[in-house]
């Protein structure tokens, strides 16, 4: 079989890894913002499934991909409002309410799919948009700059969110309420509203991640995410609550999966070992963590509801 180290194969593998990484990245970045404000959301996977379904349905009905993306974000925002009410207003335990959201999303998207669509029908897919000039760069141009605009957006969000967290007043407030909400509150920073906005950003991005997944594939099926949202949450820990770290995690996860698939296609990995090979991204993530661990601290107030008394 053909050699893995030919240019065209490497380019295809990298491109594939980037595509696989995109939904992890979007969801992981959103979760990062939420967690920096002290709110853990284990419901990411459920939000993704809901928004994936509604984005798919929209595209199926209207053929409008932009509208589909917006619907995905909108569903995310609606779920964000709900989650903010649960965790900020009612101050419920975050871990379990997230699992509640997950279950609801899993069940409701499945239900809606069966009632409204039924048999999987192909919908429009996001076209690749080569970036002028950049995509003409030999080799890396094709691997890095011939993707859908949602993929570019996901990667553009990395510096954007890093900048937001690092440099803006809002970002400063997020970091403050995630570390020491009492301190922020004592200076008149509204812990509740700051967290609410962070949750909304997080859920909107989870919604976009769901839309990205479904629009890239052009198809929906129940449990489309297959646990992707949980891995995205895990990647936030992996990325040490930094956008760039989450990006490395998502890329590691996506690229390893892409390499494994490529090796399977070329017969480098024998069929008998295909399940074992499928463990690779998970195992590598754990190994990377053992190497990196212990150097970073979670936001101190993570998972802690805030109340003054």
């Amino acid at each position: 079989m053909s050699d893995f180290f030919t240019m065209s194969i490497l380019v295809a593998t990298v491109a594939s890894g980037i595509r696989l990484a995109t939904p992890y990245l979007l969801a992981g970045l959103g979760e990062t913002v939420g967690q920096r404000s002290g709110v853990l959301n284990l419901g990411v996977d459920g939000v993704m499934q809901l928004s994936a379904f509604f984005a798919y349905w929209t595209v199926l009905e209207t053929d409008n991909l932009i509208l589909g993306s917006f619907v995905g974000v909108g569903v995310g925002l609606v779920m964000g409002v709900i989650y903010a009410v649960i965790t900020v207003v009612l101050q419920a335990q975050q871990g379990i309410s997230g699992i509640g959201i997950f279950l609801f999303g899993l069940g409701f998207s499945d239900l809606m799919f069966r009632r409204q669509v039924g048999t999987p029908k192909p919908a429009n897919q996001l076209p690749d948009v080569p970036i002028p000039l950049l995509s003409d760069i030999p080799v890396i141009g094709e691997a890095l700059f011939e993707h859908s605009w949602l993929t570019y957006l996901a990667f553009a969000m990395v510096p954007l969110l890093a900048f937001m967290l690092r440099k803006t007043t809002f970002g400063m407030n997020i970091r403050a309420v995630g570390e020491n909400p009492q301190a922020a509150d004592s200076l008149g920073v509204s812990v509740g509203w700051t967290r609410t906005y962070a949750i909304l950003i997080g859920n909107a991005m989870a919604g976009l991640a769901g839309a990205a997944l479904v629009l890239e594939l052009g198809i929906f099926q129940p449990n489309l995410t297959a646990g992707l949202g949980f891995i995205a949450v895990a990647l936030v820990y992996f990325g040490a609550w930094r956008p760039a770290g989450v990006m490395s995690g998502a890329l590691l996860y996506g690229l390893v999966a892409a390499v494994v698939l490529q090796w399977k296609a070329q017969g480098i990995i024998p069929r008998s070992a295909s399940d074992i090979a499928a463990m690779a991204p998970a195992v590598l993530t754990i190994i990377a963590l053992v190497v990196l661990a212990g150097r970073v601290q979670a936001p101190s107030a993570l998972t802690r509801p805030f109340s003054r008394h």
């Binding site: 593998t13 594939s16 209207t62 917006f70 409204q116 192909p122 999966a257 698939l261």
Partner: protein
């Protein structure tokens, strides 16, 4: 005051968002809120088996509209020329859940119950003797576990696979064919092995097979297809409901696709070459006829090309190269008369 300010900001955000969304959507948005009409099961006062209406139920591991394994059976029941009241419990892979459903139908007095999953054999061996007047139909399996009110059925999926393989070899320009599967197991294996043999028997082609390791991860399935494409593959096939992701890749890249289990032409009317379709109704009809005659079970049936339970359904929208159709027909004949070994 502070609250109102935040609420206003929030509303503004949501509103502007809605505006943008509306602008993008223009007036194309026709959201269908209505419920699709599905024949409600309990409409007619049917609980008393009125006249010749046959009550049937199916318990299946995946969704009934999966364009694959489960749907093939539902379609088959619809195709039966009988007045049937069908109840469906789908998406229950977990054996004990399925067992509860099977037992429930039996208790309700449903006359014929289809346990559409190999793994349901265990509970069936306990339940069937408890309801000796009920017919249980179980598959895919080649034996009835010695129960005389159980019929069994299984497909010779390798046969259709072989024919698809022959066609694929004719369609490919590059000589590279890619196959995608979730986990190397079940009907998929028979189909894929038959496919590979059929392709390789018909010419100098490479068949590369990838199992992703996950039934549900559609994105991974799509990328597996991409990986094949990067290796110059120009014909794809795959098994299981998760192929829907891979079909998307095929259509995006203009690559031919072969389907199995159900007619997948609807997924891409231009690039699906042919589908191996299960026509369970062929054997179901035989079973029901036996039941009418008082035999409640005890026999196993195979669907194959010969008895018409397997059929290669061609997509007229795809223009086959010269001779391909003939080669396929020859293969079908060869399989039926036993001159071709499909490798099963």
């Amino acid at each position: 005051m502070k609250l109102t300010r935040h609420l206003l900001r929030l509303l503004a955000l949501l509103f502007s968002f809605a505006m943008v969304a509306a602008a993008c959507g223009a007036d194309e948005v026709s959201v269908d809120v209505g419920i699709e009409d599905e024949t409600p099961s309990g409409d007619s006062d049917d609980s008393e088996a009125s006249g010749d209406t046959l009550t049937m139920a199916i318990v299946a591991p995946s969704a009934s509209d999966d364009l694959a394994f489960t749907q093939s059976m539902i379609d088959a029941i619809d195709a039966l020329d009988r007045d049937i009241d069908l109840q469906v419990t789908d998406g229950t892979f977990v054996v004990d859940d399925a067992a509860a459903a099977i037992r429930g139908y039996a208790e309700d007095g449903v006359e014929v119950i289809i346990a559409h999953g190999t793994q349901f054999g265990g509970p069936l061996s306990e339940i069937a003797p408890e309801f000796p007047d009920t017919t249980f139909i179980w598959g895919t399996s080649s034996d009835t576990q010695g129960l005389d009110n159980v019929f069994a059925y299984y497909p010779a999926a390798d046969e259709g696979g072989y024919v698809n393989g022959v066609l694929a070899a004719a369609v490919t320009q590059t000589g590279n064919i890619g196959v995608i599967g979730p986990v190397e197991a079940g009907d998929a294996v028979a189909y894929i092995n038959g496919f590979a043999k059929g392709a390789e028997d018909s010419g100098d082609v490479n068949v590369a097979i990838t199992y992703t390791g996950s039934f549900s991860d559609v994105a991974l399935m799509a990328e597996a297809a991409q990986a094949h494409l990067s290796n110059d593959v120009d014909v794809l096939t795959g098994s299981s409901q998760a192929v829907v992701g891979a079909v998307g890749v095929a259509s995006e890249n203009g690559v031919a696709w072969f389907g199995t289990q159900a007619n997948q032409t609807s997924l891409d009317p231009e690039l699906v070459v042919a589908s191996q379709v299960y026509h369970w109704e062929v054997v179901l009809e035989e079973m029901l006829a036996l039941r009418d005659g008082g035999t409640l079970g005890g026999e196993a049936f195979e669907v194959n090309l010969e008895n018409g339970g397997l059929e290669i359904e061609f997509n007229d929208g795809f223009e086959l190269p010269d001779g391909a159709r003939d080669a396929a027909d020859a293969a079908i004949d060869g399989i039926i008369d036993g001159s071709i070994d499909t490798g099963a």
